[in-house]
């Protein structure tokens, strides 16, 4: 329906200001202009007027971009030339060309929100009448299909239920980023399939993300695509690892990524769904499914999702600052993580003692007799961190002391020593051997305020340039 030149009033009956101006509509219709009255909610409004139209689908209101009712518009030559909303006596008199219009009414009454902006309706209107930017293949379900089961049947889930990715949900998810839906982030391994922002949004819906998580999910996907991270190998290895996401900076705090109580555990939507969205992108876009290209012998629960934030402390340099970003920047750091190994030390009250505890526990990463194989993340709890802070130990100092403590004579580690066939090559005998390659031990602070425990997250035993090195990516939009 194209609207004729003249005056258009958009109204809804439940709006008191629309009711206030209803008696004026006859005057407007009696003037020299064609009057069209678009009624959003109830055709009883302005029922006697020939130009009254019940905009039951809200299509006309949507196309006119109505935000408030009543709205008065003048069309001329097929184009809008004037508009006002609410009741402003002067505006209405000027636009209508009737200088006495509503002379008895108050000068000003604000209007109400247009029905097009009601919760749930705006998305639907955008889908039905807007210019859809969605390009993904539409999958029509059978009438008898349960949407949750349909997602399982099509192989889209990690074994847990997913949120069915309806076009309305995907549009809402895309509203969480300013990036174009058709922007290609890169080629997702193992199939090296192009991944658009829209595909990330669909998988973020599946994972249970809120739209405000989109910038974090996009940064995580981009980090996984950096060649040094080696996502292909992380996926297809027979070893345990999966992409673990460490969040730093204000954007993580803004969306509620947990860094406190149970930081490595369940219960926080942001942690759970951001890590899961990354894994679902790998699965669905990249085609990385367990038992197919994913050949993990055992895997780890972190392959469902593994995301947490650092509990940043002003006295301890946070991970992203250590890695060259400004403190006020927001980042994700991806690490090829295995499982969580607890470090229980409830007796150390000096940094020297606690560092020795950490070193003793870190030696068993991969195997006590292996070295420079897997990287590791040491998650220091606030209670343990306090021991270092009170003694004036920075994070860098702790790392330096651990590096020293973890450098041992190769003779102790050579294959066959201690009756254990596993071990480093005999050529390393007589040399000092560090447990981790340079840069292979990351330290972050996280956890609840009570508990003299820390945690070690071992990395892939093919860490370093041959397999995977941690990658940080700034979160933008």
């Amino acid at each position: 329906m194209s609207l004729p030149d003249g005056l258009i009033v958009v109204a809804k009956r439940e709006c008191p200001t629309c009711t206030l101006v209803e008696p004026l509509l006859a005057s407007l219709a009696a003037g020299g202009d064609v009057l069209t009255v678009l009624v959003q909610d109830d055709p009883v409004y302005a029922a006697g007027l020939p130009g009254a139209v019940f905009d039951s689908t809200l299509e006309q209101s949507f196309r006119l971009g109505i935000e408030f009712v009543p709205t008065l518009i003048r069309m001329q030559g097929g184009r809008e030339v004037a508009r006002t909303h609410g009741w402003h006596r002067g505006d209405w008199q000027q636009i209508s060309g009737q200088p006495d219009l509503g002379a008895a009414l108050p000068e000003l009454r604000p209007g109400c929100a247009s029905k097009t902006l009601d919760p749930g309706i705006a998305d639907d209107l955008q889908l039905r009448f807007g210019q859809s930017s969605l390009q993904a293949r539409a999958v029509a379900l059978g009438d008898a299909e349960d949407p949750m089961e349909a997602c399982f049947d099509r192989g889209w889930t990690d074994g847990l239920p997913v949120v069915p990715p309806t076009p309305a949900r995907v549009l809402r998810m895309l509203a969480g980023t300013t990036r174009r839906p058709d922007e290609v982030l890169g080629l997702i391994p193992p199939d090296l399939a192009p991944c658009t922002v829209e595909k990330v949004a669909i998988n973020a819906v599946l994972a249970g993300c809120k739209p405000e998580y989109m910038p974090l999910v996009l940064a995580a996907v981009e980090a996984a695509l950096v060649d040094e991270f080696g996502m292909h190998g992380i996926l297809c290895t027979t070893m345990f690892c999966g992409p673990m996401v460490i969040v730093n900076g204000p954007m993580g705090r803004a969306v509620g990524v947990n860094s406190g109580v149970n930081a490595l555990g369940q219960g926080h939507r942001a942690n759970a769904s951001i890590g899961r969205a990354l894994q679902l992108v790998i699965r669905n876009v990249g085609g990385g499914r367990p038992g197919e290209v994913d050949r993990a012998a055992l895997g780890t629960p972190g392959k469902y999702t593994f995301c947490f934030a650092e509990a940043e402390d002003s006295a301890w340099e946070p991970l992203h600052v250590q890695r060259g970003f400004a403190r006020e920047a927001s980042t994700v750091t991806l690490f090829a993580g295995e499982g969580v190994q607890g470090v229980v030390d409830q007796k150390s009250r000096t940094p020297e003692s606690l560092a020795k505890s950490f070193a003793a526990c870190l030696r068993v990463v991969d195997h006590p007799k292996l070295a420079m194989a897997g990287d590791a993340v040491l998650v220091v709890s606030p209670d343990h961190c306090r021991v270092f802070l009170e003694a004036g130990w920075s994070k860098a100092r702790l790392l330096e002391e651990l590096t020293t403590l973890l450098t041992v004579p190769g003779d102790q580690l050579v294959a066959g020593v201690d009756g254990i066939a596993e071990g480093i090559p005999a050529a390393m005998a007589g040399k000092l051997v560090p447990k981790f390659r340079p840069g292979g031990l990351l330290i972050v602070r996280a956890g609840g305020g009570a508990g003299l425990f820390s945690a070690i997250i071992a990395g892939w035993a093919a860490s370093g340039p041959i397999g995977s090195i941690p990658v940080s990516q700034e979160i933008t939009a």
Binding site: D143, P164, T166, P167, P194, K199, V285, I466
Partner: protein, 93 residues
């Protein structure tokens, strides 16, 4: 009732079943690539295969990927395809 529509989260590569390449009746006169993916002890397996194939008079070409953690470089894949009719790959240790 209008059926529910979901948006496809996958790469939309249709699952077309591809036919296997026809098997040669005999190896005589063919070149066989043995690809070591740099997994520990993969070479032990491939060495033994090379012995067995050589005993049958089969022409063998040996190749090695720089690291098992990444796909073979494009140039290596092209070289193998250009120089051989068959390829045997040690997939894991």
């Amino acid at each position: 009732m209008t059926s529910l529509v979901l948006l496809d989260p996958t790469s939309e590569r249709s699952p077309v079943a591809r036919a296997l390449t026809a098997r040669p009746a005999a190896l005589a006169g063919l070149a066989v690539a043995l690809l070591d993916i740099s997994k520990p002890r993969g070479n032990v397996f491939l060495d033994r295969l090379a012995e067995l194939l050589a005993a049958q008079g089969v022409r063998i070409n040996r190749y090695k990927k720089p690291t098992f953690t990444r796909p073979a470089p494009t140039a290596l894949r092209q070289q193998i395809a250009a120089e051989n009719q068959l390829v045997i790959e040690g997939l894991a240790d």
